[in-house]
């Protein structure tokens, strides 16, 4: 069988690798963006000079031929689902037996005047990185529109070259649709501490051109004109499915898929950012444009393609990011505006750059979420507690199991318990401090 995968990001490539592990089918991966798979999350580090572009490629070039995964650099113009054929821009038509759509996302544009000017772009693809490099030459002032993960990464990129940034954020606190107030405020602080001109409750209204069709200023919704020669559009992304809309494949915001990641057309699957689940598992969303989801979907879809029916089960939510120098991790459910049933314990370090938040169900005491800033916690331990429906007091007593900070770092779990004791007039003691032995026993369910 010929398995064709459109898109060489984490979703498409994971699918390709697993199809190869599970079968001898012919595999072709098509991409118009790059010759080889690279880690999109690392693009910022290329700009900042931490890595070269080739360092972001997870596999050496011989890997593809050795594993008989064919790579094609070309653009798919259209899909003939009846004839199971792809019409290509440069190459001959390609016939497939099964097709995987791993098309990724594209940056949102909300119809602002001037949004297509030169010097106005998102930050998603390798081409976007090149665009940022070109526009950084002699750049005096950048404006970033949209306070989210990509926006703050773009701010960090410009900061590394000491290019002044004005950051327009619609909300009244950074990313507060996801981050609880205290963590959101912490990010506000770190943005300002790095010399970024943070404008909360400010939106883009219009982008003004100069005589060469390049942006020269933005106008905000407050009527201010800010001179700039680059505008970063980082107000979210949407599934990259324009040419799919011309086919029979059912789409809404994304490509509709069932639990086996199959689309409305037989033998066509969709994974990653571009996929929209008809019935997302409980506690999950129908579109999750996150690296980890792409990887999990890629693995799942390969089984289904190779004849073994496996439902997509992402398990308990987890995510991570980095806001300048503050690492962020979340496991489970930690809502920005939690309902009354969600009790939350929030501990913050005196330096205002580290915090631990634990969320549990008020009635049962079951822990449902962890969120840390500037402190590393163990994925396996946190999600196991949530899976086990562990009680908050049990979790607190053993909280040291979750600590993943390097050796010799301070441990704050005792302070977290002290705070809990204060709130509840309780007397819990920390039983387990940081250490691998206890973690292994915990995970293997062996108790000494």
């Amino acid at each position: 069988m010929h398995i064709v995968i459109i898109g060489n990001g984490i979703s498409g490539i994971t699918a390709a690798r697993w199809v190869r592990k599970l079968s001898n089918h012919q595999i072709t991966v098509i991409s118009d963006e790059t010759d080889h798979f690279f880690s999109r999350t690392a693009l910022m580090y290329v700009y900042m000079g931490h890595m070269r572009f080739k360092d972001t490629q997870p596999y050496e070039d011989w890997f593809w031929e050795k594993n008989r995964i064919g790579l094609l650099r070309d653009r798919v113009q259209s899909i003939d689902t009846q004839a199971k054929t792809l019409n290509m821009r440069r190459s001959a038509d390609i016939k497939y037996d099964k097709l995987v759509l791993a098309l990724g996302s594209e940056p949102n544009k909300f119809g602002w005047t001037g949004q297509d000017l030169d010097g106005v772009q998102g930050m998603y693809s390798a081409q976007d990185l090149e665009g940022m490099e070109i526009h950084s030459i002699g750049l005096k002032q950048a404006v970033i529109v949209g306070g989210g993960l990509i926006g703050i990464e773009m701010a960090e990129m410009f900061h590394s070259r000491h290019i002044p940034v004005t950051f327009l954020v619609r909300e009244n606190s950074f990313w507060n649709v996801v981050l609880a107030p205290e963590e959101s405020e912490m990010v506000n602080r770190v943005i300002k501490k790095n010399g970024i001109d943070l404008r909360l409750e400010t939106e883009l209204k219009e982008i003004l051109p100069d005589e060469n069709g390049k942006c020269r200023a933005v106008i905000t919704n407050k009527g201010e004109e800010i001179a700039c020669q680059f505008v970063g559009l980082t107000a979210g992304v949407h599934p990259n499915i324009n040419f799919i809309k011309e086919t029979k494949i059912e789409t809404q915001r994304g490509i509709m898929v069932d639990e086996r990641l199959e689309t409305s057309v037989k033998d066509i699957y969709a994974v990653g950012d571009c996929a929209q689940l008809r019935n997302p598992p409980p506690g999950r969303r129908n579109i999750e444009a996150v690296w980890y989801v792409g990887r999990m979907m890629g693995e799942t879809v390969a089984y289904n393609i190779c004849g073994k029916s496996v439902e997509y089960q992402p398990g308990i939510w987890f995510n991570s990011a980095k806001f300048f120098d503050i690492e962020y991790q979340v496991y489970g459910t930690v809502l920005a505006n939690p309902p009354a049933e969600h009790q939350s314990l929030y501990w913050e370090h005196a330096d205002g750059e580290k915090s631990i938040r634990i969320v549990w169900d008020d009635m049962s005491g079951m822990v449902i979420g962890f969120q840390t800033m500037g402190i590393r916690y163990r994925d396996e331990v946190c999600r196991q507690w949530i899976r086990d429906k562990a009680h908050i007091e049990n979790v607190l007593m053993n909280l040291g199991l979750a600590n993943f900070d390097p050796e010799f770092y301070d441990q704050y779990e005792a302070d977290v318990i002290a705070m809990y004791n204060q709130k509840t007039s309780g007397n819990l003691q920390l039983v387990e401090k940081r250490g691998l032995n206890s973690v292994i026993k915990f995970i293997k369910k062996q108790f000494a």
Partner: protein, 548 residues
């Protein structure tokens, strides 16, 4: 609207330039280096203590001030901006310049020390052609009456032959004070002829020119760069400097001042702080000061933290003889050396992995982590490099073991000098350090060090150490692999959710430090020793169902 202070930091807007204070610091450091260069060309002829102190102080202040400005006016955290943009660190022009200069320095150090000014209180004698040099011996008598025979003249010490006679030269390292005397014996136990040495005037008096048919005895002291270091060497061990002393002093200085720089760069990371303090301590104390003090007390040179097979001559007969003939201290050196090999090292490696030595104690590692820190990303991560590495490092190990065993039975100066040349000089010195800006800071450690090979095998198969990966959090960015100085493709393991247990891992902890998502942790446990790397936490689906 208010004008915002766009750059709250005091660093200037062009990241490739230095600010004013950094320029001054660079100038100060450069001045210190300039003094060394002036000495190298023989232009310093007095006040050596002053010049040496000035040079070392200027270099220290320059580097520390520069590093202070570089790092403390930015937020704490990973600071690798522009590593691949700057020519010093991206195999660009300055990288090559520094590499060539360093390599050149090593070549001169090992093979042309006279260029650095080594003479070391040597005596040149002229003998007529018909004289038998093997009958003539020269020695030193200290003011306390102790005598040291430098040995008989031998043909191999000939440096020049003319129609007047053969010139011999040898070093008198035992010449310690102004009251020492040089004596010459023509034959066996003959009464010696004495020659008085006047340090200030650099003259020899009282020479009976007909003694043993000697035509002339000339005395040369150290000169140039090595002479500059005489005051420090005399202060520490009452003997003039040699090229090894200069090397050791500069090496130690580099670890100390670049250690300070490194600690400023990683001041948010306590593991890095402790580890760097450790290498600074072991280099200054154990690799430099203690051996100097031992020599001052007339004991053999010994670095207690340097063990066989890194210290490849430990079992050589002359070394065993030196230790066994130096009283209780000498016996302690021998016993300690054996204990290190058989007990201390295996035990520590079991508990912590080879990092206890390779990135916390060893001097090679110490320089690599401090002065070599700007170059760690230049190591080759390819699979091909790994294959070459395994082949090469284990070959050197076999060579070292074979040589040690053979030298028990054969006394082969050739074999000994070949190993010393190929492995000791070229590999570990010239390539090992000279190639920092081209191939990274751990070329010797990765491709050559026999001790690394042994410790690595133990780490791989019988140790509690591993780098744990944090479940599924890896985003394959590649920072870990890029900054691994040993050329380990850490990402390949992390993106599978597999723990990393590699023989070459020195546990520097940088991969964990540069990871932007907190995926890696260096830790130890005995519970799962035999299955440290079995679990691939990223894989969800297996025969048992879906792992959620």
């Amino acid at each position: 609207m208010a004008q915002v202070e766009n750059s709250m930091s005091l660093a200037n807007p062009h990241p490739n330039d230095m600010d004013t204070i950094q320029k001054i610091a660079a100038a100060i450091g450069g001045l210190g280096l300039l003094v060394m260069l002036i000495a190298l060309f023989g232009q310093i002829n007095g006040n050596y203590s002053t010049w040496l102190t000035a040079s070392l102080t200027l270099m220290t202040v320059g580097v520390c001030a520069y590093a202070w400005r570089e790092y403390t006016n930015e937020q704490e955290g990973i600071k690798n901006n522009h590593v691949w943009h700057r020519s010093l660190t991206n195999r660009g022009l300055w990288g090559w310049v520094v590499g060539i200069v360093l390599t050149g320095f090593y070549v001169v150090l090992y093979f042309f020390p006279a260029l650095l000014g080594l003479n070391g209180y040597s005596v040149t004698t002229k003998l007529p052609h018909n004289a038998d040099p093997t009958q003539i011996s020269i020695g030193v008598e200290n003011s306390n009456g102790e005598t040291y025979n430098t040995g008989t003249l031998a043909l191999k010490d000939t440096i020049k032959t003319s129609n007047v006679g053969d010139v011999y030269k040898f070093n008198l390292t035992r010449l310690q004070s102004l009251n020492d005397r040089i004596f010459i014996r023509c034959k066996g136990n003959d009464t010696p002829y004495y020659v008085d040495y006047n340090a200030k005037q650099k003259t020899l008096t009282n020479l009976d020119k007909d003694a043993c048919g000697l035509r002339e005895i000339k005395f040369d002291a150290n000169s140039n760069l090595i002479k500059l270091f005489d005051p420090l060497s005399v202060f520490l061990k009452k003997q003039p400097a040699s090229q090894w002393f200069v090397y050791g002093a500069l090496y130690t200085l580099a670890i100390l001042i670049f250690g300070v720089k490194f600690m400023l760069k990683y001041r948010h990371n306590r593991y890095q702080q402790f580890r760097t303090l450790s290498v600074m301590f072991f280099q200054l104390g154990f690799a430099f000061l203690i051996p100097e003090i031992l020599m001052r007390l007339n004991y053999p040179y010994n670095n207690f933290m340097n063990m066989w097979p890194l210290n490849y001559y430990f079992f050589d007969d002359w070394n065993i003889a030196a230790m066994t003939s130096s009283g209780k201290v000498g016996m302690f050196m021998l016993v300690w050396g054996l204990l290190m090999i058989v007990v201390i090292s295996p035990v520590l490696t079991y508990f912590y992995g080879k990092r206890w030595y390779c990135s916390w104690v060893c001097g090679c590692g110490g320089l690599a982590e401090t002065a070599g820190d700007p170059f760690r990303h230049l190591s080759d991560k390819s699979l091909k490099a790994w294959k070459i590495e395994r082949w090469m490092i284990h070959s050197v190990l076999v060579f070292a073991i074979a040589m040690t065993v053979l030298l028990f039975f054969f006394n082969s100066e050739t074999l000994r000098s070949w190993y010393g040349f190929a492995i000791g000089s070229i590999f570990s010195g010239v390539i090992g350090v000279g190639f920092y800006p081209i191939m990274g800071s751990r070329v010797w450690c990765r491709f050559g060090c026999p001790m690394a090979a042994i410790l690595g095998l133990q780490q791989r198969f019988f140790s509690r150490f591993r780098i744990t990966t944090n479940g599924g959090q890896c985003i394959s960015c590649g920072n870990c692999s890029t900054y691994c100085e040993m050329g380990i493709d850490v990402r390949a393991y992390a993106q599978k959710g597999q723990n990393i247990v590699r023989a070459s891992c020195v546990g520097c902890g940088i991969c964990a430090a540069v990871c932007p998502r907190g995926v890696l942790r260096l830790e130890n446990s005995a519970i799962d020793i035999n299955e440290r790397t079995n679990d691939m936490k990223v894989i969800m689906i297996s025969e048992d169902g879906v792992r959620i």
